[in-house]
């Protein structure tokens, strides 16, 4: 069965363009096309789409509606995936999007949209509960650390990979301890070890988690657009 997609962008040209692109995709059906936040919410209530593809900036405030939609759907419709289309390559927006967890979330730069394989991958990834971040945003973050060989991800133990997977999904230390049946202390030890191996030990605390997530996504998610769902969940 085709994936049902609600589309939102206040720019008619972009909205129609995306609709045309997706019209050629047999696995995807656009069931609603909206031009602002309110009509998007209505469409979600009415059609219960599998995936929302939304512009980051729309009326009414023209600020970060797309990220707010993602945060709100996390509680109201946890099964709906969200692809945020953005003109901003700034990692800060990715950090904001991942605030409510990376599961079922994708952040795609608008200039990628014309590449239908990228758009399709993103939609399929979030529909399956996975995530995808635009490589153009992640590359500058991890590139300097790649000068040797890999980012350090390869050095992680399987348990550390599991912990990092959960961090990437936005879980707290306590939640990670619960789901892996570890003590909080042990989780902290793993996390410290992850940070050291990824060369993040000196970074600022909040962005440390996000950076670790991005490194993780850049290699397991974005590069091959594969899905990271549940690989770490029990």
């Amino acid at each position: 069965m085709a994936l049902r997609v609600a589309l939102a962008d206040d720019n008619l040209i972009v909205r129609e363009g995306i609709a045309q692109l997706l019209a050629d995709e047999p696995e995807i059906t656009v069931i609603a096309s909206c031009s602002d936040l309110d009509s998007l919410y209505h469409a979600i209530e009415e059609h219960e789409p599998d995936v929302v593809v939304t512009d980051i900036r729309m009326p009414p405030t023209n600020t970060d509606e797309g990220i707010r939609v993602a945060a709100r759907l996390r509680t109201t419709h946890p099964r709906v995936g969200v692809v945020v289309l953005s003109g901003y390559a700034h990692p800060g927006y990715v950090v904001a999007l991942l605030d409510s967890g990376s599961e079922g979330r994708a952040y795609l730069l608008k200039e990628r949209v014309h590449d239908r394989s990228q758009l399709r991958s993103a939609i399929e990834a979030v529909a399956a509960g996975g995530s995808m971040m635009d490589p153009k945003i992640i590359e500058p973050l991890v590139a300097p650390r790649r000068s040797g060989a890999r980012s350090g991800l390869a050095e992680l133990t399987p348990r550390e990979r599991e912990v990092l997977g959960l961090i990437a999904q936005g879980h707290s230390n306590a939640a990670i301890a619960d789901s892996l049946v570890l003590t909080k202390r042990a989780v902290e030890k793993h996390i410290n070890s992850i940070f050291i191996k990824l060369d993040l030990a000196g970074a600022e605390d909040v962005s440390k988690r996000v950076k670790a997530t991005l490194v993780f996504l850049s290699e397991t998610g974005a590069t091959d657009a594969s899905v990271m769902d549940g690989s770490a969940s029990p």
Partner: protein, 629 residues
């Protein structure tokens, strides 16, 4: 010689009503009496005093005629004397005439010395009236009018009550109520010639007792009101009021106590007589208490002026002028505002524009001018106006210093004006940059994205039929992508959108993710502020971080701290890198720009460094919360 045009100088032409009202002081425009009028009144008073004493001493009705005569003569003379002195020194106040009226009313009570029943009764009626006037005077001191509802109520109730009790007694015949030591009869008082109602002696006694009780209660109420007034009086006015109010309390208490004893123990009991005489003597001497108060007020004025002059020879700067005046005049709330002709407005000592009406609420205003040009206005306790000429003299004494301070305030006002206009320009610039940034994203970028999609669709269609054309379309698509990237770079340089949407901390955090140097951010919950303030701090921190990334050396770490300090935001960017010698290195263009930006939003920024000690950039800006859109 500089002239001073103040409230007092204008007092003669009747013009100050508006200004006095503005200052919260009752308008007083009555002109004073001429000297010859006062002399004439004084002579009449003396005559009345002599006549009263002679008539009283020869009375065969009143008890203790000699003592009575002396006290009556002193009372009449004192009221008239105090009235003349007050009238002369405070011609605008009706206190002087009131005192004289008191003396006149008192003289008329001497009719009660007559054994002729009609005259005696008339004298007693005037006595009752005199008591009402006396209570009015006591409560109206020193303003010359009843200042509050309590005192108006006391006088009103007492006047109505007296009339209500005396009317049946006057019509009903028999004995009139007892009236204290000065109207006590030696034997039986002459009986009331009118006897229309034929009251029983029991009923008449009851009415008399009620009249005495009413007086006693009124006096106790007055004592309470006066004590309360004295407690809340400012230093300047209590200097003038204290002796008279204290004296009044003594007189009022003994008078009241006497009246109560008389009402319940009897007219001629020793207790009643003692209280009666104490109260009488005190009441008779009351005018002198007032005069002592006036003298003390003048001594206060003299001391205040002496202090003002001697202090101002030592301090002439703006900040001291206010302090010196406040100290010398014992008015800690005293304020000075300065006239700036350029903006046709008063400004405070910091150069901020003020509306005289706003700052003068509940205060008196004394304007100080030089050569007909306003210089400053002193806002002070209205009680200081009670001392005649004090504020005018103080303003005169401080004129030179006030002029200096006024220039200083004017300078500050222009600096403030400049700061405001610079802030306006910065704010307008920030708004314009944000608008541009939005335009680039919403309009230009989206158009290119739309173009890109169409090129892609066209290219897909051409793929099989015209591969070369398809390749051209692909390359056009790549150029569109490059244009989008270019546009994004430009837009971000114009105004970082993250700052507008998610605030300072998240914007910085976003930048530090790829800053090339480890950055630790420690921040309070800052909330959003105005775009120009946020942009200034953001750019300052970013510049500092970038400098650290460039110059601090390998392995250096940066810590950014952002916290509230009162209404300000304090920020600090510290790196533990190699540092530099702050004495030999001049500010680069980047830092100068940062300083300008921070200064334009009313903040400051400092850079401290030493070789091997890293670099610390600290600063603070006012942090007004952003208005909800």
């Amino acid at each position: 010689m500089p002239a001073l045009v103040g409230r007092y100088e204008a007092a003669g032409d009747g013009g100050p009503a508006a200004r006095a009202a503005m200052a919260g002081v009752a308008a007083e425009s009555r002109s004073g009496p001429a000297t010859w009028q006062l002399v004439l009144l004084g002579m009449l008073g003396l005559l009345a005093s002599v006549a009263v004493s002679v008539i009283t001493a020869r009375s065969d009705v009143l008890a203790d005629p000699v003592a009575n005569a002396v006290l009556r003569a002193v009372a009449v003379g004192s009221w008239v004397f105090a009235g003349l002195v007050t009238w002369r020194s405070k011609p605008a106040s009706r206190l002087g005439p009131l005192f004289i009226l008191n003396g006149v009313a008192f003289s008329a009570t001497t009719l009660a010395a007559s054994s002729e029943p009609g005259l005696f009764t008339a004298g007693r009626v005037v006595w009752a009236f005199y008591i009402v006037v006396q209570l009015y005077v006591v409560l109206a001191f020193p303003e010359g009018r009843l200042p509050d509802r309590a005192s108006r109520a006391i006088v009103g109730i007492f006047a109505v009550g007296t009339a209500a009790l005396w009317t049946p007694l006057l019509l009903g015949g028999g004995q009139l109520p007892a009236g204290g030591a000065l109207v006590r009869c030696r034997g039986e008082c002459p009986t009331n010639p009118v006897d229309a109602l034929g009251l029983s002696s029991g009923a008449a006694d009851l009415l008399s007792q009620l009249a005495s009780t009413l007086l006693g209660l009124a006096v106790v109420a007055i004592a309470v009101v006066l004590a309360r007034r004295l407690r809340s009086a400012s230093p300047a006015s209590s200097m003038t009021l204290a002796p008279s109010l204290a004296w009044l309390c003594v007189a009022a208490l003994s008078f009241g106590a006497g009246a109560l004893v008389r009402a319940w123990a009897g007219d001629a009991t020793p207790g009643a007589l003692v209280f009666s005489w104490i109260g009488t003597v005190a009441a008779v001497l009351f005018p002198y208490a007032l005069l002592i108060g006036l003298v003390r007020g003048r001594l206060f004025s003299a001391a205040a002026l002496r202090e003002t002059l001697s202090e101002l020879t030592r301090h002439r700067d703006a900040a001291s002028v206010r302090d010196v005046l406040a100290r010398a005049l014992h008015d800690p709330t005293l304020g000075v505002v300065y006239w700036v002709p350029g903006v046709s407005s008063y400004v405070d000592a910091w150069g901020a524009r003020v509306e005289l009406d706003d700052v003068a609420a509940g205060r008196a205003v004394t304007e100080v001018s030089s050569r007909g040009r306003p210089v400053a206005a002193i806002l002070h306790d209205p009680a200081l106006d009670a001392a005649p000429g004090l504020m005018r003299s103080a303003g005169n004494a401080a004129l030179l210093a006030l002029e200096n301070a006024s220039f200083e305030a004017e300078l500050r006002a222009s600096i403030e004006e400049l700061r405001v206009s610079r802030a306006r320009i910065v704010a307008a610039g920030a708004a314009e940059r944000r608008r541009l940034e939005r335009e680039l994203h919403d309009s230009a970028q989206n158009r290119l994205v739309g173009l890109q999609i169409r090129l892609r669709l066209a290219q897909e269609r051409a793929d099989h039929s015209a591969p070369e054309f398809a390749a051209t379309l692909t390359s056009l698509g790549d150029q569109a992508e490059a244009a989008i990237e270019e546009l994004r770079r430009i837009a971000h340089g114009i105004s970082p959108s993250l700052l507008a949407t998610r605030g300072l901390v998240e914007a910085l955090r976003g930048e530090t993710v790829h800053s090339g140097v480890p950055v630790q951010i420690e921040a309070d919950e800052l909330g959003l502020s105005t775009p120009e303030v946020e942009t200034a701090v953001y750019l300052c921190c970013l510049e500092s971080i970038q400098n650290a990334a460039k110059h601090a050396g390998r392995g250096a770490r940066v810590t950014v701290r952002l916290r509230h300090e009162g209404d300000d935001l304090a920020f600090a960017v510290h790196d533990d890198g190699r540092g530099f010698d702050a004495r030999t290195v001049e500010d680069g263009a980047g830092l100068t720009g940062i300083r300008d930006r921070i200064a334009a939003v009313g903040g400051r920024v400092d850079v401290a460094s030493a070789p091997g000690r890293g670099v610390t950039v600290t600063g603070s800006v006012p942090w007004p919360p952003r208005a909800r859109a």
